[in-house]
């Protein structure tokens, strides 16, 4: 059992670092086409920031910020963003996931529309991966019993 005053160093440093970790995660998602990164990697970094909250501040604090309901909601929203981008292409007349067709509604030519389409699905993938990684971590450390979460 760690006493409260021993946590001061860890909590202060985490309080400073966690926003930067999240910013870095978003950067990795956005720059997947030009440098190592992409949806999955950025999502994992975002999830790591929540794991750091659990480690430093305890589970109830983390659940206050990102509850179980929101985790489920986020995981489904990411899949919807991905599927909706493909579905739009279907509705506009081309095959599924044909992002070039999105140039009809986006102000860009077909080549750039593919670029924006890939970016949209990467965002979707990142959100889903973050939610699932956090959910996996919390499920495994509480042994599936979310109500008995302590420290």
């Amino acid at each position: 059992m760690i006493r409260e005053d021993e946590n001061i160093i860890i909590q202060t440093i985490c309080r400073i670092l966690i926003p930067f970790i999240q910013l870095f995660g978003l950067y990795v998602i956005a720059h997947g086409h030009g440098s190592p990164g992409g949806g999955f990697q950025g999502g994992c970094i975002l999830a790591a920031s929540f794991v750091l909250i659990v480690v430093a501040f305890g589970l109830p604090e983390a659940k206050r910020r990102f509850s179980e309901k929101q985790v489920n909601l986020f995981s489904s929203i990411g899949v919807f963003i991905y599927a909706w981008t493909g579905w739009m292409a279907l509705l506009l007349g081309a095959n599924f996931l044909d992002y070039g067709r999105l140039s009809i509604i986006l102000p860009a030519d077909p080549v750039h529309a593919r670029y924006y389409g890939v970016f949209a699905v990467e965002v979707g993938v990142g959100i889903t991966v973050m939610a699932i990684m956090v959910s996996l971590f919390i499920d495994l450390i509480t042994g599936g019993k979310h109500e008995e979460a302590s420290e």
């Binding site: 309901k69 489920n72 909601l73 995981s75 489904s76 899949v79 919807f80 599927a83 493909g86 579905w87 279907l90 081309a94 095959n95 599924f96 996931l97 044909d98 992002y99 070039g100 067709r101």
Partner: protein
Amino acid sequence: MIAEHFPALIIVFPLITAFFINIVGWWWIRPCFYMSILALTVSFISSIGILNTVVTQGVIHYKLGGWDPPWGIEYVVDHLNAFILVIVSFIGLLVGIYSKRDIEKEMPQKIPQFYTIYTLLVMGLLGMTVTGDAFNLYVLLEIASLASYALIAMGEDRAPLASFNYLIMGTIGACFYLLGVGYLYIVTGSLNMADLSELLPKLYHSKAVLVAFAFFLIGIGIKMAFFPLHVWLPDAYTYAPSSVSAFVAGTMTKVGAYVLMRVMFTIFRPYFSIELIPATTVLGWTAVAAMMYGCVLAIAQRDLKRMLCYILIAEVGYIVLGISMANRMGLTGAILHIMNDALMMACLFSVAGAIMYKIGNRDITNFRQQQLNKKMPFTMAAFTITALSVIGIPPTCGFFSKWYLIIGAIDAQQWVFAVALILSSLLSAVVFFKVIEQIYFKPREPVRPHNEGTHEEVVMDEAPMSMLIPIYIMVGGILILGILSGQIISTVIQFAVPASF
């Protein structure tokens, strides 16, 4: 306009609906079942549309993302594909309807999660059937496998351990498949199935291609529960929830057999699989062993579901025997048997689930005491008709597929295979008549004349309608499709067999 997008619709609609069910299930539980049935109905209608298009117009090529193959992923639907798509979506829909009362009784607090994962499982199997790209098949194979691990673990007492064993073995199988795809990619540089079948013939002498073929066979054999690699199946399917067993028993092994046919006859040309390396001989003899093993061990079981699992292993042996005969009759029998076996196994496992729902245990020696023939006459009638179909008695559909298999064995001059087929029919007759005797024929213990005053009347306590109707649709299918076998073969299966036979 929407008809040309059916190959994408058949997968996308269940995918989106599964995640909708996940969200909606947090607030209202009632819509989850209806949304799942809606998605499966849309898939079923799309699969019928696809079959229609393929029969009238020919092979469908659908490019995902507008990229031409071999740079992009392509969905190729020919007669074999379309046939199996209809079967899988049909059984998915029926078992989905069947599962309503069953899930409400077995796991009432996990209803949204069950329907999410069930829809994803059906989507994974449909995707495996419709894709024309080797790596995309691996991804959808893993989606279906992960969904089935989770669903099986929701079952009875030993289910988590059985699911863990299934997980370990299933991952080995999928990894072997991935290695096979990797080896083919290294030597040819392509992942598209049609492209591989054109690039590979120049490379048949290379050892990497031979090893890739071996990896494919082992990996698919594990997933299909083919004889020496079947060890995960009895435990996993016995302890799973009833609806889950009914669905996976009917479809997962059959889709595995379809992937085997694709690998042996589309990616590697039939010349390779039959003459260059004697894969068909090895598969044929192993299939004979599978049939004998399955039927003999089924006789020894007390639990109804476990007995059906061993019969399933024997049925997979039939299908692989048909594939290994390598002539037109044998392959026709194998493809017809895929359809028949899917219906028969789904129906048998549904009946076992109905018995479990009403009585609470599945011990065969207990059936007479429970007086099942009086309590659940309709369910037992369905069981009897399906048992007759497994044994192979006309006019049920099981007779026709065994007929084609035996003619195929005689055509290939493999007398041992023909004898093995007939012998295994006899053994399955022993297995099923044992159960039918317990239900209908075993004499009751004599009633003491003067002790009990009242002779208690057994009231008919039949399974609920939402469980009976899917069972009877499947039984009706078994009878009708048997009579229509000739027409099915002449319109669909005749073109599904690769042309060089």
